[in-house]
């Protein structure tokens, strides 16, 4: 048993977001909306070179311009820059236009250096070295077990192929940004962040300020997917500008800047050779991955898991396996954690090859997975999902659907760890019966605030609407960053513990045997004038880690135009005790939409001649929009006995693999890279002269 009440009054019930009304009416204040008295706009001057030795940065003309209050260097004047978009300087001024004018008035002189921005170019022996004197290709971890090559010799079928995934850019609807105010050694930073505490630590370290003098606030934020943990270069520059100007400074990045220097998901080039024995059991695997984290893994806003290595071997077990991974340095912005680091590319590559091998074995891909999956969660999810999706009725041999518009189906799975960690919380019960729950976590838009209210309401016998939730402020009891799908598993147990402690104190202090529900008002009244506060912290036993998740996809491919229409996605996920089915389903819908973007649209495009980014905005860095969304059906496996587990990352993992397999099943040939565009579909079908490899 998990320690959560059974039956429950609030947990597990679909609950609308308590902050829905303030969001849809525009009252919710995001970092973008914060305007402290006397605030200035801040903007960043960035390298226009992919690699160069900077010899001069002259700020004097910019500083002399009307409205300009501060200008600072972002790392010395004489220095080497290693990617397009690297920060050189920043300005603060009274208007946005004054900032833009000032940026253009900064004189920069630099000697361009050789550069490389494409993986294939960077791997060539004569490629320019991104780091002087070092090879661009660096081995990461490798592993080998069993007798890989001998096993291939005895295999019943072997599938080989190279699968590629692009660099994916972080494009939350709210760009990265911060507003920083510093007065008498006290600093307040409003930051669009996944981790108010890690931003506080980052500022303290960089600015040599005591952590206790720094307050970080993030009450509402418009999405973060792994690159909003630290103060970021933009935050640190805002702080420098605020110090120099003696006024608060707001730096919010543009869409172009989002594409340059805030982190990204590393690319991958996965070479697969996998084999099965005559019974259809996986026998051997030889997998090599080359991925690029750009200039490096990690950056000032990165969370963990920012390297080029991906989760190989993925999900399925091979008795014999050789795995090699390499990191390729390029003159592009640093990578960062990105919603399920290492998993979506590994799932896409592995599941693509699982289908290829199933086809070679003459087996149904779903049966092939059931035969080879050792995870009981996956077994259950494949079966439940396959039945709801109608797999058995819909499955046809690859390319066998008649006519120019072909339908196809595919499936894929993923797994994730998650789990909870130290979080503290405080509850205040007022004599009028009102309750305030305080916790230094933050709500990325996932519904964390509502989750806190639900847990408190459950514990106190109240409704979520009766709970005032205070989060997103480092003055509150500390919690961790919202990453790794760990927020609910970290926060819910702490809220529960604090509420239990508060309830016990209330009952004891007022002599009420059970103060919950209808006894609440009378008990609270007995507090007379002094509110009651109680603390609590994360306790083991209420949360867990380890989730599965599968997607089934159905597509329609126009073989004349290459256009893919998604028809249906069925997703089956588990995350232990489902706290709020409405928010959980919403997270999974969002994860699938995210995965559709990865499968069909998103790709950072660099130009090899100039070293510059070409996909600078949403018309060329394409993200999912509503007209392309299929009918999405989410099936939740509720396992309250396992306690609370996060769902943010698992939700995104299997979509690309399922869609890629559905496309291959429809057209009878495989597109070997993401995103799967009309151009690549036409090329895979052999319709494009001089273009065969896709």
């Amino acid at each position: 048993m998990s320690g959560w009440p059974d039956p429950s009054a609030v947990l597990g019930k679909p609950t609308e977001r308590i902050d829905g009304p303030v969001k849809v009416t525009g009252q919710a204040k995001y970092t973008y909306d914060v305007q402290p008295d006397g605030w200035l706009y801040g903007m960043i001057l960035r390298s226009k070179w992919p690699a160069a030795k900077v010899t001069k940065i002259d700020l004097s003309k910019a500083l002399a311009m009307p409205g300009v209050k501060a200008a600072v260097l972002a790392g010395g004047e004489q220095r080497q820059v290693s990617y397009y978009g690297q920060e050189l300087a920043a300005v603060a001024a009274t208007t946005k236009q004054a900032c833009l004018d000032a940026l253009r008035a900064i004189e920069v002189e630099a000697d361009p250096l050789p550069f490389v921005v494409k993986e294939d170019d960077a791997m060539k022996p004569d490629a320019p070295s991104v780091f002087a004197g070092a090879s661009n290709v660096k081995p990461l971890k490798s592993s080998e077990k069993g007798q890989v090559d001998q096993a291939f010799a005895t295999a019943a079928a072997i599938a080989e192929g190279e699968l590629r995934t692009p660099t994916q850019l972080h494009q939350p609807l709210e760009t990265h940004g911060a507003v920083v105010a510093i007065q008498s050694g006290q600093m307040t930073a409003w930051s669009s962040t996944q981790g108010i505490s890690s931003v506080q630590e980052g500022f303290a370290q960089a600015l040599q300020l005591p952590q206790s003098n720094i307050r970080v606030i993030c009450e509402y934020m418009g999405g973060g997917f792994g690159a909003k943990f630290g103060p970021g270069a933009h935050g640190l520059l805002a702080a420098q500008l605020a110090r120099m100007a003696g006024a608060p400074v707001k730096v919010m990045l543009t869409r172009l800047e989002q594409g340059l220097a805030v982190g990204n998901r590393p690319s991958s080039i996965q070479k697969f050779k996998i084999a099965a024995d005559s019974s259809g059991k996986l026998l051997s695997a030889d997998i090599t991955n080359h991925g690029s984290p750009g200039i490096s893994g990690g950056g000032q806003s990165a969370g963990g898991g920012s390297g080029a290595n991906i989760a190989l071997p993925y999900v399925y077990k091979y008795p014999n396996a050789r795995i090699q991974q390499f990191s390729i340095a390029m003159n592009t912005g640093a990578s960062s954690a990105f919603r399920a680091p290492g998993h979506p590319p590994a799932s896409y590559g592995t599941e693509s090859m699982m289908d290829e091998l199933a086809v070679k074995m003459g087996m149904d891909p779903l049966e092939f997975r059931l035969l080879n999956s050792a995870n009981p969660l996956h077994q259950r999810e494949f079966k439940v999902g396959g039945e709801r999706f109608g797999w058995a009725e819909k499955y046809k041999k690859p390319g066998s659907s008649p006519g120019p518009i072909k339908t196809g189906i595919g499936c894929a799975c993923g797994n994730w760890g998650g789990g909870g960690k130290g979080t503290k919380a405080e509850v205040q019960i007022n004599p009028d019966g009102t309750v305030e729950v305080r916790c230094g976590t933050q709500d990325l838009g996932t519904g964390s605030r509502t989750m806190v209210a639900m847990v408190a309401a459950e514990a106190l016998g109240l409704t979520p609407q009766q709970i005032t939730v205070k989060i997103g402020d480092t003055n509150l009891p500390p919690s961790g960053g919202s990453g790794g799908s760990s927020t609910t598993a970290s926060v819910a147990p702490a809220i529960w513990n604090a509420c239990e402690n508060a309830l016990a104190a209330l009952q004891q202090q007022t002599g009420t045997p059970d103060a919950r529900g209808e006894n609440w008002a009378a008990a609270c009244k007995k507090l007379v004038v002094t509110p009651l506060t109680a603390q609590g912290e994360w306790q083991p036993g209420l949360s867990n880690s380890g989730t599965g998740g599968v997607n089934f996809a159905e597509v329609e491919v126009d073989t004349d135009t290459g256009y893919i229409r998604l028809k249906k996605i069925v997703a089956v996920h588990d995350c232990g005790l489902i706290v709020n089915p409405l928010a959980t389903t919403s997270q999974i819908n969002g994860g699938i939409i995210f995965g559709i973007g990865y499968a069909l649209y998103e790709e950072r495009v660099m130009d090899h001649q100039t070293g510059l980014l070409l996909s600078t905005n949403f018309d060329t860095y394409k993200i999912s929009n509503i007209a392309d969304m299929p009918d999405i059906e989410v099936i939740l496996l509720d396992m309250p006995e396992r306690g609370v587990i996060g769902i943010g990352e698992p939700a995104v993992i299997p979509s690309a693999g399922a869609i890629a397999n559905a496309v291959a099943n429809a057209i009878g040939v495989r597109v070997h890279s993401l995103p799967i565009t009309p151009a690549k579909v036409l090329a895979a079908l052999g319709k494009v002269p001089n273009m065969t490899k896709v």
Partner: protein, 324 residues
Amino acid sequence: MNSFQYVTAGSPEEAISLVGKNGRYLAGGIDLLGMMKDYIVTPDVLVNVKDVKMAQPEGNAIRLNGQAYELGALVTVAEIAAHEELKKALPGLVEAASEVGSPQIRNVASLAGNLLQHSRCWYYRQPDIVCLKRGGSTCYGQEGENKYLSLFSGCACISPIVSNLATVFAALNAQVNVREDAQTSLYSIHKFYQEAWENPAAHNSLKPQNFILNVSVPTTRARSAYRQQSEKREFDWALVSCAAAGNVTGGRITDARVALGAVAPVPYVVEEANQFLEGKELTAANAAKAADIILRDAKPLAHNGYKVPLAHALIRRALLALNS
């Protein structure tokens, strides 16, 4: 953006005198303001033309005048897309208008602005790249990321035209009525864009002072169709677009015209294909032959070869759509 003067003109003559050598007319501003923000164009004066009074048709009017619909320069793309008479008389035009951008963009974008919008080539639009079209010495598209670029060009610039309306107007043989100094001239769509075919720096043949009054679209072709394919279903630029128009009697086509968009710096029309179709049965085989003729001189580059089969498919579909 750079600072600029903002003035309002009351007549085409006044607009022409105010715009000067380095000014721009401002109607919807959909394309212009974005380029100004990226410093791609830097006009010193913006002449607001939304209050310009024009002779018939008025700037924001759509009217039938004999054998042609006249569409004022200030008519919005949304107004074209929603026009009940045009849906019947010029269905291809309405289809092309309804594929422009998003509803918000169509509500604001003007007809003239749609025709004058600049290339979407991502080298041209990159704020830190000075490509051939921006006055530099290199068309980076030739050796670079040319997935979205042209199959045909008469010059070293291969940035394609992306105006949906230009493509369908080419098929409908529309004429653009342009005020030049003291006189007005009629431009065929060919003449309107020819300069962009030959001159890498040009987007069309107009001089900065030239002022579009209206577009005259003959109704002599009773059938028209427009087909485009994008990577996304809505709110995405066409990879290739195709407009076809003509008259169909007893399954045979006359007055056939086919135009492709997003494959050349101009709406791409091959007269030989139009002539080939004249009097032919509108069959899949004949449509495919016309497509072969249109695409015969295509020069695919490393990444845009897919546009050849895609254009072929869209030509066939647009032509066969004229059957119904």
